[in-house]
Symmetry: C3
Subunit: 299 residues, 3 copies
Amino acid sequence: MKLRSILCLLLAATFNIFIVKAQNNMVVLETDFGVKDGAVASMKGVITQVDNNIRIYDITHEVPAFNIWEAAFRLQQTISYWPKGTVFVVVVDPGVGSKRKAIVAQTNSGHFIVTPDNGTLTLVAEKMGIKAVREIDEKTNRLPGSENSYTFHGRDIFAYTAARLASNKITFEQVGRALPQQISAISYQKAIAESNTIKGSIPVLDVQYGNVWTNIDEPLLRQAGIKNYDPVMVQIFDKDRLVFSSSMLFVNTFSDVPEQELLCYLNSEMNFSIAINMGNFAERFKIGSGPSWKIVIKK
Amino acid sequence: MKLRSILCLLLAATFNIFIVKAQNNMVVLETDFGVKDGAVASMKGVITQVDNNIRIYDITHEVPAFNIWEAAFRLQQTISYWPKGTVFVVVVDPGVGSKRKAIVAQTNSGHFIVTPDNGTLTLVAEKMGIKAVREIDEKTNRLPGSENSYTFHGRDIFAYTAARLASNKITFEQVGRALPQQISAISYQKAIAESNTIKGSIPVLDVQYGNVWTNIDEPLLRQAGIKNYDPVMVQIFDKDRLVFSSSMLFVNTFSDVPEQELLCYLNSEMNFSIAINMGNFAERFKIGSGPSWKIVIKK
Amino acid sequence: MKLRSILCLLLAATFNIFIVKAQNNMVVLETDFGVKDGAVASMKGVITQVDNNIRIYDITHEVPAFNIWEAAFRLQQTISYWPKGTVFVVVVDPGVGSKRKAIVAQTNSGHFIVTPDNGTLTLVAEKMGIKAVREIDEKTNRLPGSENSYTFHGRDIFAYTAARLASNKITFEQVGRALPQQISAISYQKAIAESNTIKGSIPVLDVQYGNVWTNIDEPLLRQAGIKNYDPVMVQIFDKDRLVFSSSMLFVNTFSDVPEQELLCYLNSEMNFSIAINMGNFAERFKIGSGPSWKIVIKK
């Protein structure tokens, strides 16, 4: 009898461990805070205070200050590589304290994003689809004792809520009231093909190497008749100003061309990209990224 | 009988797991080493060699080289967000090899800090109070095989001792002999109010955004009669040189003023701070931080 | 009976936990990707998808772009501080897509390195010795769904294979076919003593502080008759151009000389190094590192 109850306890204990393993308990952070000061460390401390078994990872904290567009891009670029059930905290929040909503979005892919609804979900919504959105109820989901702090929601609301959700201290429903699935989106030039010409944009640079990434995907290239090892004519515009114009080979990989030569290729997201083998294309030709940068290519 | 002993084993095993969970087993690192070389990685390796269940986090490794003051500030800024029982390693150590003591301090809040006693504890001692100090006995608490290495105590002594303490391989008492609670402190201008004028200093900048943080807290502001949405006259001095002088609104949050406009507000630590909405105040007006920077404000 | 089977389950469960603990389950990453974009985060996501109990650490992601030599140095500098059984992923891969082999090397010390075989193992092979090498079979060891991605092997092949190896999803043998132990090595000037003169090279700078590290070790110094507190004549050459020439004291630690004074000492790897106490030697005298930088010292 006594034995049985000990067994039950043991079973529960063991089981509990398996439940913890079966659930995700992972939080991934993305901000424009940098890591020179204590902001990110405070967020991580708050998370471990909620549950010190949570595994904490980072996308990056080097999003350029206030650049919501790039935050949206980095989230979209990486989210699908993480397990379902992972909770993301994305805070690039120039409007902290304004009326932008603090939300948690659940994607169709089973990921959760805790964020101010200011455009950070633009690309994830397009790529994966949003299944449900909840507004964070700041009365119940706020770090105790932080009620008079207006300027660091990343720590007091977003990290705290993410930790509670990731560790199942609250359910998704307990985040707060349901909102329409419509999130705030930033408008930008989609990629389109007109006969053999493709227009698109430069959402982001491959900053470490200076490669130029576009939003033109493989099917669009095939549609315009571009095949491997074809020469491709590339024109890059900043608003209406022509910044770069040249032809280059469309190859599989960098080493398919000699060092210091131009090439175009499919990047790790399978999108059309431009580079110099062993060189920095963006720096050499002064190419930037964001809504104002457009690209036109044809065979 | 046999069953009972298996049960005991199981109970012990299960229990052990709960004990590990109940205890902290967390180490948080802060240094001026940067992350471009292998120094931080060596410290983390040593920690995992002691016990690979220790969870390792970072405050920052981008403290400006040799800047003990800023290390002290970042520690004080973040420590209270971490669970009791967390062990911090703070190494900004221009005097490595000199007679500064290697210590572990226990705060009244139940945190532990492993550090050279060179001023890094200045602000934590004021804010939380020091309960006990032990000098690290380098004969017993030194990475085996490192006896001839004089220049990397961060790895050989501080990280190693922190890991052993965090994982309960040694008790606090086993760190070494007890010292007086008096730690080495850096002197600086405290914040004071004289009738309606407040004098204080600029301990640190909010580097990522260029906001200027002061050591003037909310009660002092109220004492000088400053209320929300009051205009406040702000003067900033580097030693005796007037660097900035202007009036601005004291608001709750950045979006209370138009873009590019000056504002003052309570930062995430509830201290008086100065900023430009969507701009970089420190860069625009060439403001620095540290003991020589002073601020005078009045309504 | 029923009790017994529950017990068996419990035993297995508890045991399983101990097995997980007994094994290493640790992955350490080193790349030249930086942390501004999503590349490192994608690698970490893939690792957690394989097994979210894997503990992930970093040597650095700030290896200068394409600098295989420095990647080799940072690996060699830190590897021995990590537990046996740790799996390292080292990706500085200018030749991605070329015929360089994707391998896993097992060192005599019991560490594993997953890397393109392009020179990253040069110094580890010399220091620890290579016990066995396997070529990654990209048919079985590639992130499912990544077959058409040619440019991000760090994520699709190296991180994925490392995670599977670290979590014992595959054995070392299941990585792929055995290769000869001979890895690709970068040639460089070894340290040699001729009577009282020692020649060596500057493999790397202590970047954060500007100290200059050499490959001259303590036994070689003793062989040339250099003792503690001896003055040492130091000459530094870039190829054949003399860049620096001066005498300085060989001391134990920085504080043995006044601030701003030259010194030489044994660094944290017990190699001969040169510095200015509280200053930046490399910046002041424009010293670099790598195969072209040589040093000559004598008493």
